[in-house]
Amino acid sequence: MKFGILISEGPYTHQATDSAYHFVKAALEAGHEVPRVFFYHDGVNVATSLSVPPQDERNIQQQWSALAKDHGVDLVVCIAAAQRRGMLDENEAKRQGKTAHNIAEGFRISGLGQLIEMGIETDRLMTFGD
């Protein structure tokens, strides 16, 4: 079965992104497919490459980047939500005249259409938010 995942809250502040991560891992282990995870609202902040959590805590961005690498999960960050919140990839940074970019490996920026498409093409949509 194909699961689509929508994450609506940022890392560390809400447990939503942790719950989604454990759900996705369990789904993959059970032989299901998770073709895409869509990050919306403050969820876009999960993609930051600049996070430095304390040594004794999980690194949420790295957990997701590893899932993308190991299982081909497509991690999509909503461009409109990301621009408001200061999350830019290299292209966007150039286009907006910003000197830095902060989207970590394994994440890509795209439009809200990718969320709708995920709803159409998967069997179940799971929402983790607040």
């Binding site: 969320l115 709708i116 709803g119 159409i120 069997d123 949509l125």
Partner: protein, 136 residues
């Protein structure tokens, strides 16, 4: 399943302006309208506050997005279910909500109301009839 039309329901349970969820939910609805799915919106709990008349955000410096609801008809989003019990608990009636209409091109472009006031039990039926439920 992939080539079929799916029933999408956008569930709005939060008040506008205190948080961004109402605005960003509407942004999904507008983009989603291009995908030719069977779209409905549900407004219950504090979500009914999104549709009230007379919103004026000038003094909080935040964009007033309530007029956008009136444009939904142009995007062929014509089913806005609003829960009666949620209105009542909040001291509201249908008259406190904006008038939102759509033009029915199959009926000589007659303007028809988009807002459908439903009971809690009917709202539960609407929810149970969907393929995809997006919660905001």
């Amino acid at each position: 399943m992939e080539d079929d039309v799916k029933k999408f329901l956008y569930v709005n349970r939060k008040a506008p302006y205190g948080t961004i969820y109402a605005l960003e939910s509407l942004e999904v609805v507008l983009i989603g309208a291009a995908f030719d799915q069977d779209v409905s919106l549900a407004f219950l709990d504090d979500g009914v506050f999104q549709l009230t008349k007379s919103q004026d955000t000038a003094d909080i410096g935040v964009k007033n997005f309530s007029p956008t609801f009136r444009a939904l008809g142009d995007y062929e989003v014509t089913k806005l279910y609003v829960e009666k019990e949620s209105l009542e608990e909040r001291g509201l009636t249908a008259d406190d909500l904006q008038e939102i209409v759509w033009e029915d091109e199959d009926d000589d472009y007659e303007e028809k109301p988009s807002i459908r006031i439903v009971s809690r039990a009917e709202m539960a039926d609407v929810m149970a009839d969907q393929d995809v439920i997006l919660s905001f």
